[in-house]
């Protein structure tokens, strides 16, 4: 099976078709996805700014990291659930979209970031507070997080503006067995 056929098969799953064609559920899910960026994405930015020593400097790093952790987790789960619905229901359009592909790569990078920096930074924030200065590894974690987390919604926007070359579009539709 080609990528075009797999994508078409995914978005043709009954409830995804219904979801894509619904006039209210689709925008509600998209708005929820966006609201998560505001509410929980903002908490990520605040944590990063604390690690860089730029905001919330009157309070220990441990309080910021531990105090927001569960909320960021909850936000992440909601955001990804909504994103999965939005992405899979329009798989035909997205699978060959380079901005979508970069976005998925960056989402993978969130996992890599966690593997690298969790044991060194986020799991022991009280160690950071005891250090005379914020350790470089914590600042590196914050900068990487800022870059990844700002790039992801930006790419999300860019996905919507991508126009595939017409020949490619027609070939994909033909491969999926759709009329031109």
């Amino acid at each position: 099976m080609s990528a075009a056929e797999i994508s078409h098969a995914i978005q043709s799953i009954g409830f995804l078709t219904a979801f894509r064609e619904s006039s209210y559920v689709y925008p509600v899910v998209m708005a929820t996805h966006l609201t998560c960026i505001a509410v929980f994405g903002g908490l990520i930015l605040a944590t990063d700014l604390r690690l860089l020593g730029l905001a919330l400097t009157d309070m220990p790093i441990a309080d910021v990291v531990n105090g927001l952790r569960n909320w960021k987790r909850l936000g992440f789960v909601i955001m990804v659930t909504m994103g999965l619905l939005l992405g899979t229901s329009e798989m035909d359009k997205y699978y060959a979209n380079p901005y979508f592909q970069i976005k998925m790569f960056l989402i993978l990078m969130i996992g890599v970031h966690a593997i690298i920096f969790r044991p060194r930074v986020y799991n022991h924030p009280e160690v950071l507070d005891r250090a005379p200065q914020i350790p470089r590894v914590a600042k590196t974690a914050a900068i990487c997080s800022l870059v990844i987390w700002i790039a992801i919604p930006c790419l999300g926007r860019w996905i919507a503006y991508y126009e595939p070359p017409k020949a490619e579009r027609d070939a994909a539709r033909a491969a999926a067995g759709l009329s031109q």
Binding site: G42, A46, D58, P60, W71, Y161
Partner: protein
């Protein structure tokens, strides 16, 4: 009479200008709303309980303001790309009303309650209203594209 030529606006003539402005808009609302949510979580008694709401407001105030300035500036630019379309859009009208209300609320009641160390019940009510206001603004912002 001068007629505003939409095509002369770089947002409409440059391929990158519009999405780039939207990126600033999104990042800035994450910053401003996120820092307000930090205070709201405390007011609601749901997070950051080692700090007082007063301390959180003082520590996030500048970032909230910086975010608001960028989000409003980029919002005005986006608005300039097609003013008539936005003015006649019901979701946009709702959004702007809620935004004005939210900004006034944030710098009056919300600030006063957070700074004064009010009772938990008052704090919860104040934080709850704040969350609802800001969430409704993001929601209606997206809705502009769907009506």
């Amino acid at each position: 009479m001068m007629i505003y030529d939409l095509n002369a606006n770089p947002l409409n003539s440059n391929e990158w200008a519009f999405p780039l402005t939207e990126c600033f808009h999104i990042t800035a609302f994450a910053l401003s709303i996120g820092t307000i949510m930090l205070v709201d979580l405390r007011l609601l008694g749901l997070g950051m309980r080692h700090q007082t709401a007063r301390q959180l407001v003082k520590d996030t105030g500048l970032w909230t303001l910086a975010g608001l300035i960028i989000v409003i500036t980029s919002g005005l630019l986006i608005f300039s790309s097609d003013p008539i379309h936005y003015l006649y859009n019901q979701a946009f009208r709702f959004k702007i009303s809620a935004l004005l209300l939210a900004i006034i609320y944030n710098y009056t009641i919300h600030r006063k309650v957070a700074m004064s160390g009010a009772s938990p019940a008052v704090g919860m009510l104040t934080g709850g209203v704040s969350v609802l206001l800001w969430v409704s603004i993001v929601f209606s912002g997206l809705w502009i594209a769907f009506i």
